[in-house]
């Protein structure tokens, strides 16, 4: 009996709070028919926003992968002064509100910030353009890859790497042939999370993007713009794209969880 009530309550809560809103997105997007939806998606501004979002994400991804793997390797395999501090610093973006994060970047890299002012005479502008979007996206996604790779490295242990050392492999060979295959599943999941978050970030990006129509509008910003312009179909149509991405993320998570190696017997 308790079991039944608890399950029913959980389903009700999740249905009302999580599932219904997602259904509402698709409902509203198609409220004016499929043709209106098609037209909304193919709107040049929406397409430009999609393109910018994809470009920004593709720029953030390699940055985050290189950093995440490098940090995980250093933290998992070595003891050094400041190891704990590094771990905490990587987790900070998790606790910082997106608007505060955006403000932080503006205050240091903006035209009036110490670093921004230093670069301005050389004609280098970091905020209110693609660079700014990439920088804040790197901030909000900072812990994702490291967090997935670190536990995998901890579980696999260093024996295979030491074996490769005794067989004469150099650093790159050890990474390419031994480490990378071992961390591939965790890395893949970290990449998926980073992509999802980078494409969807709203608050931090809205502070530093400058919101120039057709130029620095990422898809989430475009959604806000259309929504405030009373273009509901346009806003919800664009939202379906991001919702579909979120659902794909969840499916990938499920796939990686099911087929990825759990804790393989040590060979």
């Amino acid at each position: 009996m308790t079991r039944f009530i608890l399950i029913a309550l959980s389903l009700l809560f999740l249905g009302l709070m999580v599932i219904l809103p997602v259904i509402a997105i698709f409902h509203r997007a198609f409220a004016d028919g499929f043709d209106a939806y098609r037209a909304a998606i193919l709107d040049p501004e929406t397409l430009a926003a999609i393109r910018l979002t994809v470009i920004a994400t593709l720029l953030v991804l390699p940055l985050n992968v290189i950093f995440g793997v490098a940090a995980a390797w250093a933290i998992a395999r070595f003891r050094f002064v400041g190891r704990r501090v590094l771990l905490i610093l990587i987790e900070i973006p998790f606790a910082v509100s997106p608007i505060v994060a955006g403000l932080c970047f503006l205050l240091i890299y903006g035209a009036y910030g110490p670093v921004g002012a230093l670069l301005e005479p050389y004609g280098v502008q970091l905020m209110f353009n693609l660079t700014g979007i990439v920088l804040v996206s790197a901030f909000v996604t900072c812990p994702f890859v490291m967090r997935e790779v670190l536990p995998v490295l901890m579980v696999t242990g260093e024996d295979e790497e030491l074996a490769a050392v005794t067989l004469g492999a150099n650093g790159w060979q050890i990474f390419r042939h031994v480490v990378l295959p071992n961390i591939s599943w965790g890395l893949a999941y970290g990449v998926v999370l980073t992509m999802a978050r980078a494409m969807g970030e709203f608050g931090a990006v809205s502070v530093v993007a400058g919101a120039i129509r057709g130029q620095t509008m990422t898809l989430p910003l475009q959604i806000e713009l259309m929504y405030n312009d009373y273009n509901a179909t346009g806003a919800f149509a664009a939202a379906t794209v991001l919702t579909a991405l979120a659902l794909v993320t969840l499916v990938l998570r499920g796939v990686l969880n099911r087929f990825g190696p759990k804790k393989e017997a040590h060979a």
Partner: protein, 242 residues
């Protein structure tokens, strides 16, 4: 080619694990490091391999000082206690790894690597299992792959850390023979860490008995039996004879 360790000292934090160990061996000799856990034998082996570094002391190989030489440049084959096979590579790929990672100018051709791998697979009698992954092998098979992988680089010295400890008694017996056989065929000197007296006796030309960071006696098994230098050695030698 001769190998010598001179006055090796090593501490971890406040614990002194090796308190001045010296050891010298002849070409092609099979030496066992025998002692209870905590006697420092694994640490000594790791220092010889270059997987740890001595605080004090010197390592000489064929007269060359290798104390500071990185592990990868020593050309010593190492068989890990848990074998440490590359789980994402097949048996053949595991064995070929040491040849594939050689710098281009000294790397054998693709076909030469394949031929050498096949030769080693036949030597360990696993030619039919070349495409298996480590997880699909029995403990004894893994051990043989680990041996073949270490021998593939034609090492100047073969180092083995408790190579039989993960196996059950029956497999252990039969593998002893094949390990000694492989080592003779390769014509390479070997150092094996073990805590099992019978294993040391069966395999080694000479046995170095270790206790609390010292080598207490280093001699042929029959000499250790007939002429133990201390009560510790006497007890160790008799322990499983009784």
């Amino acid at each position: 080619m001769t190998f010598q360790a001179l006055d090796i000292h090593k501490s971890f934090g406040d614990t002194e694990v090796l308190k001045g160990v010296s050891l010298s061996m002849k070409e092609g000799e099979f030496v066992a490091l025998l002692g209870p856990s905590g006697s420092g034998k694994t640490t000594l082996l790791n220092i010889i391999a270059g997987l740890a570094h001595a605080d004090r002391g010197q390592l000489l190989f064929a007269g060359e000082d290798i104390t500071r030489l990185p592990a990868g440049q020593r050309h010593f084959g190492f068989v890990f206690q848990n074998y440490a096979l590359f789980r994402h590579m097949t048996v053949a790929q595991n064995i070929a790894f040491g040849l594939r990672v050689l710098p281009r100018k000294s790397r054998p051709s693709r076909s030469a690597i394949a031929a050498r791998t096949r030769e080693l697979l036949e030597m360990i009698e696993m030619a039919d299992l070349a495409d298996r992954f480590p997880a699909q092998l029995s403990g004894g098979q893994r051990q043989r792959v680990a041996m073949a992988r270490a021998l593939a680089i034609e090492p100047r010295l073969l180092l083995m850390d408790e190579p039989f400890s993960a196996l059950d008694a029956q497999v252990r017996q039969s593998l002893r023979e094949s390990v000694r056989d492989l080592q003779r065929k390769a014509g390479v000197g070997a150092i094996m860490v073990t805590h099992d007296r019978a294993e040391a006796w069966a395999l080694a030309d000479r046995v170095a008995v270790m206790n609390e960071g010292h080598i207490v006696q280093f001699d042929r098994p029959e000499v250790l039996s007939s002429n133990p230098s201390s009560d510790f050695v006497r007890l160790l030698v008799r322990a499983d004879a009784a």
